[in-house]
């Protein structure tokens, strides 16, 4: 099959009757095998593709030893990249943004810890150590680190299913730290083993649905604080929570409801203002702390008049106590701790990476996924030894950080310093902080997580993605948090498999006067060519679809023969398979091609393959199918196949 130039007349005369006789010179190109590679080389390339798609060693090439050491340090500790150019102007910006996020982080920290059924102080501990560690290891400039609502909720719901946080608070705390340790270990391992791509399996539709479902659950949980209910269900699902709300109507306290609703309206209004005008970000950033101060004062003033409003109570002063002695690696609850760790780890990682990438993209810098995973992972591992629970980059606080003008990770150091001062001196001030204000703060934060616009867009563009989103939403709401997530991931994976199991096949025709072959259904200009049936397969050919494709192609052939007979057209002689979109093939696929050729041959039909991609060509070659197809069984383009075969038939005196 070398080069050959054929003069072909009337090569593209479609049977619409409008064909004109022309002369065209068509050069026939042979189909090349890809450059030869050993199995080891292929494995190496595949390995690099899977684990090192960013080519992390690229920057180290052609560098002196000294530079290599500096680059190595910089890649381990991004602080070395920006640290040397740090100046007073940057510092001023970072102090402003750091203080702003601190005013948000302190009330949120206390609230989210309650969401995870943990003592409020743990929320503050978790806003002190992790930001410090992230500022050294992290590569995002805008990520504001601390506890987040989703991970807190998931940890709370999963752990409290087995251990009661009120009856056995020490064991519960131990489990929380142990889960945090495993979350960190899992995150750091994903980064170290460069398996970060696994979090891509949580697709955006899954996350939109899951987050919205979790936000609804969290909001419903806040009814406890906002209505002043004392006896509340420990369950998370929609139905038990609602029945718990209404069966305990006697416990509703009007003082709590009035005050709670008042502050909720203030918080929602300030949030709305800041969303409308991003420049006024400080209004929504300051309002939680302001609400905490005002509500605490109010409760303090009326403390002798009513006992209907519950408040936090005593909080210990002082820095994070060490907690490495509270981790445990044996016992009945170890499996639960590992499971909780992995799920909260994946979720917090996904949030952290997504937030980091969002703001990096806005300011046009790179956030390396695998490195971020290690940073977040180490942060949680160290956190678990210093009384912190799972932390990551929070979307709402990072947005405030960005809008407040944060320039580097120093804003996280400022945040940590402010929390430090609070822990050392200000804890007694929170004694009379009412629980209702924490509920209102959480509610305001999580309402923003229900992204109905994104869901609507999914509905418009891709119904299946919308379906995945709904599976995640209702799965979380009605079944359980981990199962809802599992259902949504399975649905997304099944979609991929279904696409391969039942691939599209298209019938192609020639666009008159060109060498372009396109779908007959889609392009009206395209028309069939006498004697040929041109089919394009739009998927790899694998064991899951090889039988289907074989049957489908035979059915196309039967249908075409019927059509030809009805129209008294010239007989079908050749099936051309355009393999351009067949990106891969396995042994079952090759066998199906063999079988297809055999069955077509029995009907005196020729099978021709066009433009197989490199890896497919290689396997076709190895399995000797190309020899069996014969000299005129493989072409580079459909046009060349049509031209060459037509001229051969003409030479043999066939019509």
């Amino acid at each position: 099959m070398g080069h050959a130039t054929n003069r072909v007349e009337d090569m593209a005369s479609p049977n619409t009757g409008t064909a004109t006789t022309r002369e065209t010179i068509v050069e026939i190109h042979s189909v090349c095998l890809p450059p030869k590679k050993t199995t080891f080389q292929k494995l190496k390339k595949r390995f690099a593709d899977v684990f090192f798609p960013d080519d992390p060693l690229e920057r180290f090439r052609n560098q002196t030893w000294r530079n290599k050491v500096i680059l190595g340090l910089q890649s381990l500790f991004p602080i070395f990249i920006w640290g040397s150019q740090y100046d007073l102007k940057l510092f001023r910006s970072d102090v402003v943004s750091g203080l702003t996020i601190a005013s948000l982080a302190i009330p949120q920290g206390i609230s989210y810890a309650k969401l995870a059924n943990l003592p409020p102080i743990v929320g503050l501990y978790s806003s002190f150590v992790p930001p410090l560690i992230y500022s050294i290891l992290g590569s995002s400039k805008h990520l504001a680190v601390g506890p987040v609502s989703i991970a807190s909720l998931v940890m709370g719901s999963m752990l409290s299913e087995s251990v009661s946080p009120t009856q056995d608070p020490i064991l519960y705390l131990k489990l929380a730290f142990t889960s945090t340790f495993f979350a960190g270990l899992f995150q750091a391992s994903l980064g170290l083993l460069r398996l970060g791509f696994l979090i891509d399996f949580l697709s955006k539709p899954t996350l939109v649905g899951f987050t919205a479902g979790a936000a609804v659950i969290v909001s419903l949980q806040q009814l406890k604080g906002l209505l002043g209910i004392v006896h509340f269900t420990g369950k998370m699902q929609f139905i038990p929570v609602m029945s718990s709300v209404f069966s305990n109507r006697s416990e509703w306290s009007w003082e709590t409801i009035v005050m709670g609703l008042g502050f909720l309206i203030i918080l929602l209004t300030t949030r709305h203002i800041s969303m409308r005008k991003p420049k006024l970000f400080w209004i929504s950033a300051a309002s939680p702390l302001a609400s905490v101060v005002i509500s605490t004062l109010l409760v303090f003033l009326i403390r002798n008049k009513t006992h209907a409003i519950s408040f936090i109570g005593h909080l210990p002063k002082g820095l994070n106590p060490p907690s490495s002695n509270m981790l445990y690696f044996s016992g009945t609850h170890l499996a639960l701790a590992i499971k909780t760790g992995i799920i909260t780890g994946v979720l917090s990682l996904t949030e952290g990476i997504a937030v980091g990438r969002t703001f990096a993209s806005l300011k046009n810098y790179q956030v390396n996924g695998n490195k971020e995973m290690m940073a977040i992972g180490f942060m949680n591992m160290i956190g678990s030894c210093t009384s912190c629970y799972v932390t990551t980059g929070s979307f709402s606080r990072s947005a405030v950080n960005y809008n407040a003008g944060a320039k580097t990770a120093v804003s996280n150091i400022v945040l940590a310093s402010t929390v430090l001062v609070t822990l050392l001196f200000l804890m007694p001030l929170f004694h009379y902080t009412p629980n209702l204000i924490l509920a209102a703060i959480i509610l305001t934060a999580v309402i923003g997580l229900i992204d109905y616009q994104a869901a609507y867009k999914l509905y418009k563009v891709d119904k299946f993605d919308f379906f995945t989103c709904m599976c995640a939403f209702f799965g979380v709401l009605l079944v359980s948090v981990p199962l809802g997530l599992a259902i949504a991931v399975s649905v997304s994976v099944i979609k991929i498999l279904l696409h391969v199991t039942r691939p599209n096949t298209l019938e192609f025709g020639n666009i008159h006067g060109t060498q372009i072959y396109q779908s007959l259904k889609r392009y009206r200009e395209a028309s069939r060519i006498h004697g040929f049936l041109i089919l394009a397969v739009e998927s790899p050919i694998y064991f899951v679809n090889s039988t289907y494709l074989q049957e489908r192609i035979l059915r196309w052939t039967r249908e075409e023969e019927t059509r030809v007979k009805e129209n008294n057209g010239s007989t079908l002689k050749c099936i051309i398979l355009d393999m351009t979109a067949v990106s891969s093939i396995d042994t079952s696929g090759i066998e199906a091609l063999f079988e297809l050729r055999r069955r077509l041959e029995k009907q005196s039909l020729q099978l021709v393959l066009v433009n197989p991609v490199g890896s497919v060509m290689e396997k076709l070659h190895k399995s000797k199918i190309i020899e069996s197809l014969g000299l005129s069984g493989l072409y580079l383009t459909v046009g060349e196949a049509v031209a060459d075969l037509s001229s051969t038939w003409k030479a043999h005196g066939q019509p």
Copy 2:
């Protein structure tokens, strides 16, 4: 973007320096949207593609009512298709082949029942009712129906893990019939719900490995019978079986070993002869029965001299007793029965369908997968009520049936009649049949299942398929039968996902003097075009790869810019993405394209999409990305894109 004809000079001047200035008329074609369809229409088409790819109602169109009824009956009971044309000549062939397979089926039935830890008589029952039912419902002409080794082994190993067949034989028998019922129910449901494609997930490499592994296990189990060991492990894995063989060396009986080896050699030799010369099929077909007769006689003659050789003992005379009262649908073992039913159901279905297709393809007739599933399913459901355990089409007996000249399913009726006679009159003759001969028959049958040639071919053509095969083999041999199967299926599915997660991207160049664009690495004739970077993505763009592809394309761009700088070439201006092989896209993929365009724009680079397929084009349109790409952002072919953009640049006075 209507039609436009541009006169472009020097449009394809590769930077190799060999370019010649030419004049080419390039017509620009617009990219069409596919014909508009509502969501319902799309769902309907998708539904038909998944569940009715064979268009089963096609034959009913344009028929009279009377014909429709006849066609309907024929499609439910294939016996109506061939029944009316049946004649004496066909009958003669069927009697010969039916008697031949009966001589094989009787000893094998008894042996396989022992493999499933069931009373030998159940094997004969299972060779009587199921062939009768299959002859009415089945569409294969050559399938010989009865118990098979793999399904027997799997049922035996799964059930005996929970219930001992020696200590609680009644419960064990009940479980076996219940599993058979569920196997049939599952098989029939797959067919009725047209979910038959699910068995395609058991790929050929998986089956080759699994079958070989199971065959090794079965062979090792036969050491019990061949060595005359009395106390044998109930486990199936390699290590416990081997240790059981050698720790019970005191029980080895030399009489059994000598006689067993003698018959084994005879059986293997006759098998070898028949494989060499298919015409002598009757030698291997007759030898098991002959061996049974001779060995029974021998044992009968020496019955007073030695007791070292164990034999079957008393077998009840008479037809299949009803067993519907032995099915049970509640209780602790129900889950086990369902699980065993599903796994044996899938395995026996896969074997039956594969065998049916193999012989149908040799004689060029069609076997409809879904209909076969219903036939096999009903056969097992009825079987479970008439004291039969799981049956399907056996490969070895079907091959004998084919070689013996079977013409229709009547050979199965002849087989059943012969078994009937045996059951009614000949059972006492099997009293002294030694267990060692059953072991030798099983061993001879399963050795043929180890298809090392297929494994070697997998190794040559597709290393990954070979890996899957080995996973199945060692999984079955060392872990357990269902887990080994699960591991192999997971590995094959992960391969599909991995291919999508890390798709290939290729850099394209122009083959000089043509409109063909092909991989630069593969085609030496192809060369780059000034100012363009042409990339082809070889996979759907989904959530699992959208981030990767975005980063990968940006890396291609960086590398190309470095290359251009080093060679002092003209600056890069445009990235062309050839979407021909992107067979599908989801919302994450679309967002990645948006983000890619945004980031390229920041580097003053244009993004152009070429030839998106119908469904992709539709989603691009709905998400408004096409508007955002601008007028010159979408072309039908790479050639047109290059030509049009070059001429635009020239018109604007750019180099």
